[in-house]
Symmetry: C2
Subunit: 553 residues, 2 copies
């Protein structure tokens, strides 16, 4: 029963070590290469994806009384896949039936199964790339990385933390209490891990796997049964995940229903009923602040872990690499058309300009420099398509349109060339003043950025940090050459609970968060109440229960 654990133990141990050191480490290659994934992997993945289109997605033995599915690729075509759908009561009761067997499995057995699921997901990363691309609008290369190996790394990270927490207390110990000159009192004590119950994972449209895997694997490893609720527009990536999980469970002699898929159709969502069901003990949620706030208020006694949204900022004080700064920011604004929860929205620039290696640059010159860098990055249509991808939600295009009037347009948004029926938009950049809080002080999800004129870098840092405290923020970036001002900004953003990147000019972007090194979201501002992945994210997903008795003398 612990064969899988032994097979994957080196990966687990390396993951536990990496999480403690926080140097670079990854278990699953981010390079979509035939040498790594097999020469036919790319074609096979595409073929499997295409073979699913227009068909019923069969999950053998899964409870169902209906079929649901209306996914449409942001690149154009309908997926036409129908998924087995069950009522909330059917799902919860199937999950509870499966629960005792999973709860009684050892942490090692459960961990081994999680690691095998991750290994199989990794082998199917090309299939997943197509599934993620055509549900989120991510370009293929990003869909491969973020939907495949990066998501798997985040899942492994959660398993590593869960395993470390579950094994922190010994299974057994002898307790020997001295009694002065008398015989000591000796007790044997036995501890076991007891899961919390049914765990609900609510996925989002833009990163269905990356954002779901930490909660999903943390809950599964700690013995809870799972109900996975995808966003109605991005079911396929999580359906594939559930399919693989159920296959591994059954092969290992467990009930498939330990992992269930909860699909619904737009307009008849079952999420609220799931959240309010008294059997749900844990909820992982990624999505909007408004629904996140509803989930937190209505989850009853369930523990809730959220990643919501916020307003991410860049503050520019000075730079010794103006061109590098502009191109780095341009990439951060353009990547997946600003649809990352980590993408910057507000760029605070002193209204009197900044000092750079190219001499003094006025506010307008800084704004123009960034706009020009975006233009340069997206000049080649093929590269533009690879960076921007498509727009997941039609409402985002409408938001871009209405944002033009919020200030002075420095760079207009436009559709990408040569992408046919795909829904696309390049970054809109609007210049505003610090006083125009109605414009830049709200999250405007999508390729929408504001260059905000402020008094100086300290004013910018303060405004960015206050915005983070009020509205939430997942990332912040600073360009500054004065060390004291850098350290002061680090202090201020820490108070606001925002992870800060300083002077990024090369191949690392503020949007990026690397498993085993960068914690994603701090839980310390309204952008989310939890962090991916720290001990706090896993330690409450189980309880420790003891029995003890005297040892006969």
């Amino acid at each position: 029963m612990t064969g899988l654990f032994e097979r994957h133990r080196p990966t687990l141990q390396a993951a536990v070590n990496a999480a403690a050191k926080r140097d670079y480490w990854s278990a699953y290659s981010e390079i979509p290469s035939g040498k790594i994934y097999g020469e036919t992997a790319k074609d096979d993945g595409l073929a499997i994806y295409k073979a699913r289109l227009g068909k019923f997605f069969n999950l053998p033995g899964h409870p169902a009384n209906d079929t649901v599915g209306a996914e449409v690729s942001p690149f154009g075509p309908s997926l036409g896949i129908a998924y087995p759908a069950a009522s909330v009561d059917m799902l919860v009761s199937a999950s509870r039936v499966a629960a005792p067997q999973w709860a009684s499995a050892s942490p090692e057995v459960r961990t081994g199964i999680c690691l095998e699921i991750l290994a199989r997901l990794n082998a199917r990363s090309f299939e997943m790339a197509n599934a993620v691309m055509h549900t989120t609008g991510q370009a293929f290369a990003m869909a491969f990385q973020a939907g495949g190996p990066h998501a798997q790394d985040r899942g492994l990270e959660a398993v590593a933390y869960a395993y470390a927490e579950m094994t922190r207390t010994p299974v057994q110990a002898t307790w020997t209490k001295p009694q002065g000159r008398g015989e000591p009192i000796v007790m044997e004590k036995h501890w076991r891990i007891v899961p919390r119950g049914v765990s609900l994972v609510i996925g989002c449209n833009t990163f269905p796997t990356w954002n779901s895997y930490p909660g999903l694997f943390a809950s599964l490893a700690t013995g809870n049964t799972l109900i996975v609720k995808p966003h109605p527009a991005a079911i396929l990536p999580l359906a594939i995940t559930v399919e693989i999980a159920r296959q591994v469970l059954v092969e290992e002699g467990f009930a498939a229903d330990i992992v269930l898929l909860a699909v619904d159709a737009p307009g008849s969502e079952i999420t609220k009923d799931l959240v309010q069901h008294p059997a749900i003990a844990i909820i992982d949620y990624t999505g909007s602040n408004s629904f996140g706030s509803w989930v937190r208020a209505n989850a009853g006694s369930a523990d809730v872990y959220t990643e919501e949204a916020g307003v991410n900022s860049i503050v520019i004080g000075a730079t010794d690499n103006f061109a590098g700064m502009c191109s780095n920011i341009a990439f951060s604004l353009s990547l997946y058309s600003g649809q990352m929860c980590t993408a910057p929205q507000d760029i605070f620039v002193p209204r009197d300009g900044i000092e750079t290696n190219e001499g003094h640059k006025s506010f307008d010159e800084v704004a123009a420099g960034i706009a020009a860098a975006v233009d340069g990055l997206l000049a080649d249509p093929a590269r533009a398509a690879g960076v921007c991808g498509a727009i997941a939600n039609p409402a985002t295009l409408a938001r871009v349109a209405s944002s033009r009037s919020l200030g002075r347009v420095v760079r207009d948004s436009a559709a990408l060339e040569g992408l046919g029926e795909a829904r696309t938009a390049t970054p809109l950049i609007v210049a505003v003043d610090a006083a125009d809080t109605d414009a830049y002080g709200e999250e405007r999800f999508g390729p929408i950025a504001f260059v905000v004129a402020v008094d100086d870098v300290a004013d910018g840092v303060n405004r960015a940090a206050e915005l983070a405290e009020r509205k939430g923020a997942i990332t912040a970036a600073l360009y500054e050459t004065n060390e004291a001002r850098i350290l002061a900004a680090a202090d201020r953003f820490a108070l606001a609970g925002v992870n800060l990147s300083v002077n990024l000019t090369g191949g690392i972007y503020v949007n990026q968060s690397a498993a085993f090194s960068d914690f994603h979201v701090t839980g310390a501002n309204p952008a989310g109440n939890a962090s991916l992945t720290d001990a706090a994210f896993v330690a409450n997903r189980f309880r420790v229960v003891m029995w003890r008795r005297p040892v006969a003398a």
Copy 2:
């Protein structure tokens, strides 16, 4: 600034190791001996206690706009101590003013200060014993142990877990990502611990220090400021604690108001206003289920850690030491007159009796054996006073009186002899049938026990476990000689989230929970949502925030 940390580092390291091994370990001697605490310590402690009576309890610099205090010893006299009282707004605003300084102290500095506070509390254990005795009704020896060294061990345990969690992520790391044949990308990363905010500790009447110290020290070590809200009937032990904490803080250059005392008078409690204040980020609560449920529902976004109440059971199947079993149970029922959250209430006995080393014993013989053991234990008035102590709350006496009619009285409760005006009561033991759930199926706090006739041991285990699932339970005990039935009971009680003690016949009692080995409460049934002390109890009391930048090539 880290002098205290260095001084106490060996204690901290030993505590961290002990918590991992879970063998017997204690930092603070439970023996009230002059050899350990100083030859004059006992007299000094009593003298200091007496000198406080009838006076104003001065906390220099503490915000106050009133004085409050109406403590009356369960042994008779009024304490007559008046404490500085402040409004909720005054307390919260003083706490917030003190917060930035404490948040910016390093984990080592904060940990060192916590360890120094504990060391000074330990040195004043005799003073604390008098304070606990005359606010809770505990007999002196118990008040010394539970109010002093055992509580301090629990506080140290929380500090050890907090320190381990805070230092799990490095302060700094270098992240080096290979780039094929190119130069690697190198980043420096810096992490810091960010506290959650103002932490509220709500103490109880019966164990003002033991139950408060884990949350108090866990929150303080992790950088939160504290508002300590004692039960109006048991202020002095926590006032002394706050006094010592403030003294150490000031000596180390910190604001005294990092730790505040929130006193109120019966009938004009401020607890609800504190719980609902939006600045409160963490709440530790010990008390009734009804108010606990209100706290959980009204705490807003604050994290809530509760120890509430439950119905603890003993199930008797068989024993090879009938006399040892009866005297062990008798002590558990009598200790502090059943006013421990860990005291058993329901004793399930097969209605056809049990097999013992003294031959078959009928249901009535088992009940009579326990009753006789209580009589024997309490026959000597001095010993009875030392075991039972006094009754904290007058309502408990009324509850004893009204419980007599719930079944057949096997042993009646009576006042202790020779304790003058003290409020006392020995255990009432009532025999009922398993069908009489109205009698034994509710918590009846105090010296009230039921011997419940069940079909067999399996029936008893199931009823006890179901009661734990429905009403909560902190402890369970089993007497059984068949190993398979013992293991089955361990499985069943684990499912119900109850720590189980098997075949206790000697000097260890089901009521006792030892720091560094026994977790207290599992958090897995309605008796509480947290456990003292595991990683889950501390890991959410802070957040980790990063800043990073490229390392110049």
